[in-house]
Symmetry: C2
Amino acid sequence: MSAVQLFPAPIATVDAVLLTLRQGALCVGLITREQPPFTGLLALPGGYVHIPEDATLEAAAARILRDKARVECRFLEQLATFSGEARDPRGWSLTVVYFALVPEAELLAAGGALALHPVAGLPPLAFDHAAIIDAAVSRLRGRSSYSALPAFLLPPLFTLTELHAVYQQVLGTRLDPASFRRKITDQGIVEAAESRRVGAHRPAALFRLRAGQARSFLHRI
Amino acid sequence: MSAVQLFPAPIATVDAVLLTLRQGALCVGLITREQPPFTGLLALPGGYVHIPEDATLEAAAARILRDKARVECRFLEQLATFSGEARDPRGWSLTVVYFALVPEAELLAAGGALALHPVAGLPPLAFDHAAIIDAAVSRLRGRSSYSALPAFLLPPLFTLTELHAVYQQVLGTRLDPASFRRKITDQGIVEAAESRRVGAHRPAALFRLRAGQARSFLHRI
DNA sequence: ATAATAGTGTCTCTCAGACACTATCGA
DNA sequence: TCGATAGTGTCTGAGAGACACTATTAT
């Protein structure tokens, strides 16, 4: 390694995959590109790191989602870094991708410039963003079977029936309600809130995620 | 987003965490830095992406390990990207980190410039490399409980007793030999090789990883 | 035969799925 | 009282750990 950098630097960007559930369908937040390349195509929200404003890449992703969707995501985590010569016609590039889970209600309340599109049946996307979204959905599905990730698709307070429905929608399988309740409550993943959800029928207890323990279970769902 | 990039580009590099087992101890391959910053300290092998020689970041990581350790790793996967202003005194930087598993025998046969150091009790390292190694070890430990990753710490052909020992060393726990054998063989993770390991006592059947199925199990180990 | 390592049979306990049951609300 | 949703009790079957057992080699 010499002191002088002999190689051109790759173009480095940050992109964000924001996932939410709308009417039981997993959706991703996209923008329509206004500049080349890929003008007019849908793309993930993203951009350059703002130095020194962004302390880290994660901060850059949070800023991008704050600007585009007007939300502070309770779940934001690095997905992976995608790279290569072919993904951007301007040249060799890399993009560090973060993935966020947001309840739909929060997105709607915030307004924001992202349009929600069901991840099943997306139109052609800019760059390699279709593959990136596939990777994010795979991560969500994979982690959902042994973690509390799907809870981040609900508001901070939720009933176990709602959580059960979200797990079923994300995993695409039926889960026995009784076993589900036991697993969730036994493992200390959630804690009971004081209030109850009142409605037309028997009120349901409300729960919230326990801080820190939200990520992984002892046993599979 | 304007057409002109208004922000300085971060310094982008690739680093590799090469892990192996030596006498039951998990070890990482390190070099001694010859240039500033951190001259004289131990560091992960790494460097700039060579454009256009490296087709992707993974190819850059493979090249770095080929140059420094003279090995082609059968397991090489992206770990995460680390970033920030503080990790490199030259300024805001990001490094895309790959993590590799190699059997010790292969490393020794290859020679190479990496020195193996037990991950328990490392001296101070350059940059944030201590935190990066922690992340790699956590990933290995976490994935080992439900995947065949530890098998990559053995040569392509191995006995179930050897695999059992490697799992115990990586996980740091005792595993029942009978249960272990059943789980490994029942799940189609390995397939029997034709040959057997001959020695001073009863010969053991040799196995290899089944291509594709190497990554994840139905049930925990 | 013996030592040593390889590999199996079988018991038990725990946990997940199935599903019938009870509980609590509004109308 | 009924309909609807919330939540529980209990049976059963699968799988993991424990551990005693058998198998196969060299010496």
